[in-house]
Symmetry: C2
């Protein structure tokens, strides 16, 4: 049995690394705060006798040996980076619950068949460096190291520069670390489990996600002396696109779409914006539906540009297709939750997760626990003491169940 | 006769202070670049034997004595600060043409009846510190020094801090400098003179201008796992307001309205914006029309907030009512342009100018010259050599005509 109090204590302790006045965490990937939590993570794993290795893109792998040293490890893992105004649970719960599982195995001197591994993936949030799930994506061969290194944050700092600045460029080649299977515990970040009174979500897959960059080009001119009819104002065009994106998602059941960033140039009260740039985040469980919405947004953009007399481009910068999780891993999650007597339901993840990329290279599944009001990517994000403990307990049981099945061949 | 070549030379020389790669100027008020051009201005005026005084908000007054030392000076003036991506003529022409007038009087050893003054007003653009025309506004008693000092730029630096950082806090109390009349030469910044083939605009007044700050409050949450129906997304609301502002101005002949700045919080691709802030610039020659549009925008905001499930406030932060210029000053401008044989027309200014505030405390008028394509607040802003010279010549003649009429009582 895991120690729910020890887990909660770790959650609250590490929440101080980058902790905000409003009770959230600001721990952008590869920042000084990220370095501090990484150092802490490494030290805690080493205290349990684990070996900690770091790969070229900063992914951290802590390994606890099993009986059969030739087997690839069964991994648990998630991420310790957060949004700029993130909560205390998104990602962190999955890593710290994994640590709690290792502690429990250590205390019980429990010997598994396969080695057990705990992973902290780099830049899951995608907030500082787009796209999200970058570290797990490099591990899975979706991206290469050079691509990761080339990503720039909004200040123009590269991933390569940032990882070297905090000395977390490891020497393990990306993708070289063997993983036999992976289980990721995470808060749901949506409203379903709470609304239906379930404690455990058996996550059968992750919906498809696409990110876009939109650039609008108009002409800067004087806000007071340029007649309305002579304007080529980039902002009303950007605004119309924001509404078109919302409208396209509203019109397609199951879709969500968000413009999370917008900037205008030069950004002066009395200057008609000459340029605008915005991001679009589009998701749906079905790739065909994504194609349809993408086409609708492209059409809308063309019509808006004509109406407003500006130019516009929509560039898809990321496409993470819908992912189904592995039936054997899911069976272990179901068995674990069932044997512990938790109310559970199957659920598709609305958020992207490292597990979505790891599923390409190893059998993978996820476990969700509820969060208050379905609120996430918000400093007020909250998960209960009981649910965090339940999630960690199910994680440990699922891993041990999978290990037992392995041993039984 | 003024020396158009010497004037052009000054324009091109000083354009290097803050000059941009695209041929414009970035010389934000009270920046290091502003300090450099101020130092240059002071030195040039002193070379002509003028006394240069600086008031508490950095307005610079260069005085050339006249026959009657008891008379308040006839002023020429404009501003040397620019937009972040400003052109080479907006404001600068009015100051450098005034300098050329002083040089011409100096070279001819011409003695005026009243003293002649050249003024460089602080923070006309309003881009770094809102509102615009701040220095002339303090001089005219529209604002006080404490208000000016309290203004913050987008980085949180105060006007008080910035003026002290460049050592341009003078010891002359704001408003204490006597001005008997003021003439301001400026590029039109709009398309009318060029379209009609006129060289000189006799500016009969300045339209009314209002600035607003809009704040939208929603709720940050996850872009992937928050269903469309559960969102309180601040950005679509802001976007709808941008379009409402454009629509309200389009619906009212003679009105212009612009959203020049927009920002969302926290500004992450996969976070639904929890807050948005934007500026509105609204103008019309008639105050009643401004009231009507303001009410329409307020109503639109309320409806948008209901539809999007967010909160919103519109705060008017500046109101500069329509200004009629002084008939005697206008007569001198007309006389000057007519006697020189220039094609002229009467025109209302779409842009705000220091003259609009000075008109409250002294007889004032303005002279416009065309600019290419009506383009201003743009690095490509262009005025011809010939038109700049014509403007300076009309400025000098108008001042001397006004001075002669004064002498004649
Ligand atoms: N779990 C999570 O919030 N991941 C960030 C990537 C995304 O879904 O936007
Ligand atoms: N002339 C000029 O561009 N002034 C700036 C104030 C305004 O926005 O009109």
């Amino acid at each position: 049995s895991i120690d729910a109090k020890r887990l909660w204590n770790d959650l609250m302790e590490t929440a101080r690394i980058g902790g905000t006045a409003r009770g959230g965490i600001r721990r952008l990937t590869l920042s000084e705060e990220d370095r501090r939590v990484r150092d802490w993570f490494k030290a805690e794993c080493e205290k349990l006798g684990c070996t900690v290795q770091v790969d070229e893109v900063g992914n951290m792998f802590a390994t606890r040996p099993g009986r059969d040293g030739t087997l690839p490890p069964i991994a648990m893992g998630s991420h310790l980076d957060t949004q700029p105004t993130g909560g205390k649970f998104d990602g962190v719960l999955g890593v710290l619950a994994g640590l709690e599982c290792l502690r429990t195995l250590h205390a019980a001197d429990y010997e598994t068949h396969a080695p057990i591994m705990l992973v902290n993936w780099t830049n899951e949030e995608g907030s500082r460096f787009a796209p999200a799930m970058l570290g797990s994506g490099v591990h899975a061969g979706v991206f290469d190291r050079a691509y990761a290194d080339s990503r720039l944050d909004s200040e123009g700092t590269s991933f390569a520069h940032a990882i070297e600045a905090i000395s977390y460029r490891g020497d393990v080649p990306a993708g070289a670390t063997r993983i036999g299977a992976m289980f990721e515990l995470h808060i749901e970040q949506g409203p379903i489990l709470e609304a239906e009174g379930d404690t455990i979500g058996v996550v059968t897959g992750v919906q498809g996600m696409r990110w876009y960059d939109v650039e609008i080009g108009g002409r800067e001119s004087h806000a007071g002396s340029t007649p309305m009819a002579m304007r080529r104002d980039a902002l009303p065009a950007a605004a119309a696109l924001v509404l078109a994106v919302q409208g396209a998602a509203r019109a397609c059941p199951g879709a969500v779409a968000t413009v999370g960033t917008i900037a205008v140039h030069p950004g002066s009260r009395n200057v008609i914006p000459g340029a605008a740039s915005l991001s679009v985040d589009l998701r749906h469980p079905d790739a065909g539906a994504l194609d349809g919405i993408e086409a609708a947004i492209e059409q809308a953009l063309a019509a808006i540009c004509t109406e407003q007399g500006v130019s516009g481009t929509l560039r898809r910068i990321w496409d993470s297709p819908p992912v189904p999780f592995d039936p054997r891993c899911l069976a272990s999650v179901r068995h674990a939750a069932g044997s512990l007597g938790y109310r559970m339901r199957e659920i598709t993840s609305g958020a992207g997760h490292d597990a979505a990329y790891i599923a390409r290279v190893a059998p993978t599944a996820m476990i969700f626990v509820p969060c208050a009001g379905g609120l996430s990517h918000n400093e007020a994000e909250e998960a209960s003491f009981g649910d965090c403990g339940a999630g960690a307990q199910v994680l440990l049981r699922a891993v041990l169940d999978y290990d037992r099945r392995l041993a039984e061949g």
